[in-house]
Amino acid sequence: MTIVSPSTTVRTDPTAPPSRPNRGRASGDRRRIRWWHLFLLPFCFLWVYPFLWMISASFKSRQEMLIGGLHLWPQDWTFDNFRRAWTIGRFGEYTGNTFTFAITALVITVVTASLAGYALSAKDLPGRKIVMGVLVAAMFIPHGYTIIPVFELVNALGLQNGLLGAALAQAAPGLVVPVLLYVGFFGGVPKELGEAARVDGAGYLRTFVSVMAPLAKPVTGTVVLMSFIGSWNAFFVPLVFTLGRPDLRTLGVGMYNFFGTDTTDWTGLAAGASISVIPIVILFLFLQRTFVEGIAGAVKS
């Protein structure tokens, strides 16, 4: 797995000679800082150990797990755990539900936030200040416990029998940051661009769809990734909304129930955990820069 790489890439470092010897204080600092690897390497290994253990356990046989031992490398590789988790543990079904839930929430977020962000980037829009003020204030006002009214609302709308209600409940409170990201982006687009589109005969909607929205791809990338990972990992909202509908459970909720009903099948549980964790970890490894910048943006703005 890619996760192991910290320990392999940097291990040689403390003993290796400095690449550019003796450049005054800089190389002295470099030599001093190398000692930190002695602390960082074991620390980070322990930090990712649960992931290594999870992957290893999901390929071990149940007997090997019973005997115990600290070996990460399975003696006999088996896919039986995944088969059990996928069918008996219903993780196949849960994976489908998680995709449906996450993609619905994502579409809601991107459409709503990009439209609103574009509208709010026009400084002369009446009511702009009020909307922005409420949005920013809502970020800092503690929300207390709002799931009950949300639950009531979804029931009143008749959406309790599908994942759309849950996706709305998941996406709507998280709209503030995406909207602010889009406002920031569209606010920075030169006015001349919109003017030029208008000269070419494009109206408001046309300007947005064929000029502005394609321009905003970097922001959309961040929003898509943040929203997808957020919903994939969501637990509370899907739990509450699938209490009476076991067939709608997402991976997190499914794992919780699997653990509640069968606490002894550790390798099966590990396989289930791998099914829900590995896809998102791989996605993250490919797009980590976008994701980390998205999180950091919350602090900077």
């Binding site: 910290p6 890439t9 940097v10 800082i33 930190w36 960082l40 980070c44 290994f45 990712v48 649960p50 253990w53 356990a57 019973l66 809601i108 459409v111 709503t112 439209l115 609103a116 509208a119 709010l120 026009a122 009446p126 909307v131 409420v134 920013v136 809502a138 800092f140 503690p142 929300h143 207390g144 416990y145 709002t146 799931i147 009214p149 009531e152 609302l153 996406a171 709507a172 709209l175 003017e195 000269v199 909607l205 990992n233 637990f235 509450v240 997190g252 909720v253 794992m255 919780y256 653990f259 550790w266 590990a270 998102i280 970890v281 490894l285 980590q288 999180i295 950091a296 602090v299 703005s301």
Partner: protein, 313 residues
């Protein structure tokens, strides 16, 4: 349509009216969704908290402040309150400063492999809390769990530790898992904050003969301080939302030793094992929870107001 000059001609007015209309049309989904799923629920949960209500039909039995009085007199409420507070203490006293130390270290361009270290520390953040929490629960099991096996083999303990089953140890264990899980976020916040320090400030400090420690104390920390307030607040708010971890791993047990306010509320509102849900009471506890968070947030408001004003404009 032609490109008319920006004068208040009839055609300018017509176009402006149209732009405003379109603008508000674009805003409609946001306003509707945000009002329905964020603002209204806040107000509604305050309203429900004055009723004895089991969720069937509209709330009718008005009990005034009865739910609040009941919660404030219940020792189980204060137990959950205290445990939530312990999670915050762990996050603010351990995670917050520790993440700053790691960020300072991992920000140094002289450290090789720093990106891989960051990646390793950030990995728990992207995993589903409930799922990875259960993986850790298996690893920490007293019989056959890999952690106890390692501790026994190394001779650190002579009896397995019941990390999640012992009422005295379960809470610190969960706080530790919570720190492990959230550490990467706080680290990224700090790294982002450190990177806002202008490079030429370091140059100037070096020219004045400042060493690494002096640069840290006189350049980095003063610039980072205003952002630290925001990081503090974000870490605090996250530390109170421990529902997923606690509910999945211990369910608040053993004997409510790890019960936090979110799991306490959940039990009254949704737990199938209780005879009838007590939505009104759960909402009241939620309001108390919100007030508590608000008070702590307001205590930092003078520092925060400056940043809010800047980011809102």
């Amino acid at each position: 349509m032609t490109a008319a000059p920006a004068q208040r001609t009839p055609s300018w007015r017509r176009r402006r009216r149209r732009a405003v209309l379109w603008g508000w049309l674009f805003l409609t989904p946001l306003v509707v969704l945000f009002t329905a799923f964020s603002l209204w629920p806040i107000v509604a949960s305050w309203w429900y908290s004055f009723f004895a209500w089991d969720g069937v039909g509209p709330p009718e039995v008005w009990v005034g402040l009865g739910n609040f009085a009941e919660a404030l007199q219940a020792s189980s409420f204060w137990n959950a309150f205290w445990n939530s507070f312990v999670f915050s203490l762990g996050a603010l006293l351990v995670e917050f400063p520790l993440a700053l130390c790691f960020a300072l270290l991992l920000n140094s361009v002289l450290l090789r492999g720093r990106n891989l270290y960051r990646l390793a520390l950030f990995l728990p953040v992207v995993a589903t809390t409930a799922v990875i929490g259960l993986v850790l629960a298996i690893m920490l099991a007293p019989v056959g769990g890999v952690v106890n096996e390692a501790l026994l083999t190394l001779g650190i303990v002579d009896r397995p530790i019941n990390f999640l089953g012992d009422p005295d140890i379960a809470l610190p264990t969960l706080v530790g898992i919570d720190i492990w899980k959230g550490f990467g976020i706080t680290l990224i916040y700090w790294l982002a904050a450190i990177q806002t320090v202008p490079k030429d400030l370091y140059e100037a400090a070096r020219l004045d003969g400042a060493g690494a420690r002096q640069q840290l104390v006189n350049v980095t920390l003063p610039v980072v301080m205003p952002i630290a307030v925001v990081i503090f607040l974000l870490t605090f708010q996250r530390s109170l939302n421990t529902f997923e971890l606690v509910q999945a791993v211990t369910g608040g047990g053993p004997v409510f030793a790890t019960d936090v306010l979110p799991t306490y509320i959940y039990r009254y509102a949704f737990d199938a094992e209780m005879a009838a849900p007590r939505y009104g009471f759960a909402c009241a506890v939620g309001v108390l929870f919100g007030l508590f968070t608000l008070i702590i947030t307001l205590m930092q408001s003078p520092a925060l107001a400056g940043r809010l004003r800047r980011s809102a404009s």
